[in-house]
Subunit: 338 residues, 2 copies
């Protein structure tokens, strides 16, 4: 780790100097900020050319590259009073690197497009970069390039790249009736943490931390591909919604067995405290970036995968059911909805 | 071309229906908008998996991928009263694909991150996508994925990918004293067009069009790499500023011969009309995405390359001179400056 996530901004200049250079991104200037950001980057062996040129050059040994892009906006995807810049960096990287893993690929690189207001403290983007960097290290990737511009709303645009190392990509469209549905990673923790934060609390800490900083099981994506996963995705919009993408892409129906889902006691306690069925978090909460996949019925799944349902022949809607019945509280998340 | 750049929005429903679905991106909804956008995409043979899954998969035959990312914000990088959505799409794609070409690579793919206000007419993002698509076709690439979210400021985040086809990447750091400096493409046209638009005029049309829709010489990047270019970049910030990046990266000095620069008569006429030395546009105007490179002195340059200067041993600042002297009007562009 290059800097403490809770790191303090550098102390002001003594003597009441009217202008303290470096305190805001506007004072630091574009090139000063880019210098600060790139100084926080450690390349991996896959990086042939890193930041500072017209483009980066990254190894793609499999002769193809896996690529995904996502945007996070302040106020919509994160709040500065709930999450540190470091946490936003970890989360922004995680959600993109998880998309790469969910194809069965190993993440290699990350590019950052960053919009920042001129009056933002310069420590915010540098701590964001520390978060991106550290999450990349967990996933085996490196930040290789980016762009920084001034604007009103902090916007973090991430593109992640990855390599399949000879594996076939696992899409959402290969699930077949008779397959089992299995999941690994966390489900509902981020949503429970959000509910806690939205009510003005800061604990239980485990759930608040899960909301601030998801921990996708990156290794599980390539491992599932090697185990013969027929379809796979990461849970970014909620288990029912994301399994709905597999059901739609594969033209099948999927039934989830609620008794197979893990609802920790502590999550039930919070649910009782805030009046929410914790199964709602587990079934419809996104942002934990668990990995859910379908496998042939005879696949030998490793210990950390949990069988949670099965793939059925297509029938009338809904495409995803829980214990054979529609889940009555709408899942999914339309970014343009109210 | 999939739709006319000047295409009209679909007619409203007759009979004064209070709500006309599809008229704004908010009414269309996230998934409706994504459907509209992806329907405008034509894959190329390099696209193994296009939009609609967790990530795209794109061929990288050279076993490495060239990647660059850029942001365009409304009000800062484009104005809706000056440029159509289609033009913004063309320009956003062009500036990223030019970065790929400037490494000596051939563009393969483009990813779009798009922030749009809910009240924006839905034709705006779809015409933007038409522009991205058409510019990709010029460069031989395809749109392969993206993300769309709601926000206050229209923001276009582009990541472009490319392949070197066995060529070594041409960076900014290989220029050697004795090399010649040569350029191909347009210089100063976009800046002249900006000056015209900023004064409330809409002509001369050629310059206004150049500002709205740059035409980078994509093919020239890989060609220069094969001709043995020692350093290369595209002119996005202005000739002096971008040659400054080469001079700094290569630890050399570069002298431009002003008599070798092409100042069209019509550009001189506009300069006279608005009181600006047209050489200022040619030397410091960005956004045309010409390609400038350094070559060994004995390199045989094709017809459309113009020798404009030479690489010298390093000396005291400035690193880039014009006819042996510093250019007295500051070039470059600091995105956080006033």
């Amino acid at each position: 780790m290059l800097s403490s996530p809770g790191g303090q901004p550098p102390p002001g200049f003594p003597g009441g100097a009217p202008r303290t250079p470096g305190r805001t991104v506007g004072e630091l200037g574009e090139f000063g900020l880019i210098r600060e950001l790139t100084s926080r980057i450690t390349p991996t062996p896959a990086v042939r050319i890193g930041p500072g040129d017209d483009a980066a050059v990254v190894a793609a040994p499999d002769r193809c590259v896996v690529a995904s892009t996502d945007l996070l906006l302040e106020g919509r995807h994160f709040r500065r009073d709930w999450s540190t810049a470091y946490d936003v960096g970890r989360k922004a990287a995680a959600q993109n690197l998880a998309d790469i893993a969910a194809m069965g690929a190993e993440p290699t690189a990350l590019l950052l497009g960053l919009v920042v207001p001129a009056e933002l403290p310069a420590t915010w983007p540098t701590e964001l970069m520390d978060g991106l960097h550290d999450e990349c290290q967990v996933a085996g990737a490196a930040v290789v390039g980016g762009d920084v511009v001034r604007g009103e709303t902090i916007t973090v645009a991430i593109t992640a790249l990855g390599d399949l190392h000879g594996r076939e990509p696992v899409t959402r469209s290969g699930a077949r009736p008779g397959d089992v549905v299995a999941v690994t990673g966390w489900l509902g923790w981020s949503a429970a943490g959000y509910s806690v934060l939205a009510r003005g609390f800061r604990s239980p800490r485990a759930f608040v931390e899960a909301h601030r900083r998801p921990e996708p099981p990156y290794h599980a994506g390539p491992a599932a591909a090697e185990l013969g996963a027929t379809a796979m995705t990461d849970v970014s919009d909620g288990l029912i919604a994301d399994l709905g993408h597999i059901a739609e892409g594969s033209k099948v129906r999927i039934d989830i067995r609620s008794s197979a889902l893990d609802v920790p006691v502590q999550m039930s306690d919070i649910g009782q405290a805030v009046g929410i069925d914790p199964l709602q978090w587990v079934l419809t909460g996104g942002e934990d970036h668990a990995i859910v996949a379908t496998f042939p019925a005879d696949a030998k799944l490793p210990a950390r995968w949990r069988r949670i349902g099965e793939v059925l022949h297509p029938s009338a809607a809904p495409q995803v059911t829980v214990d054979g019945a529609p889940w009555d509280r709408a899942g999914g998340w339309d970014h343009f909805g109210d």
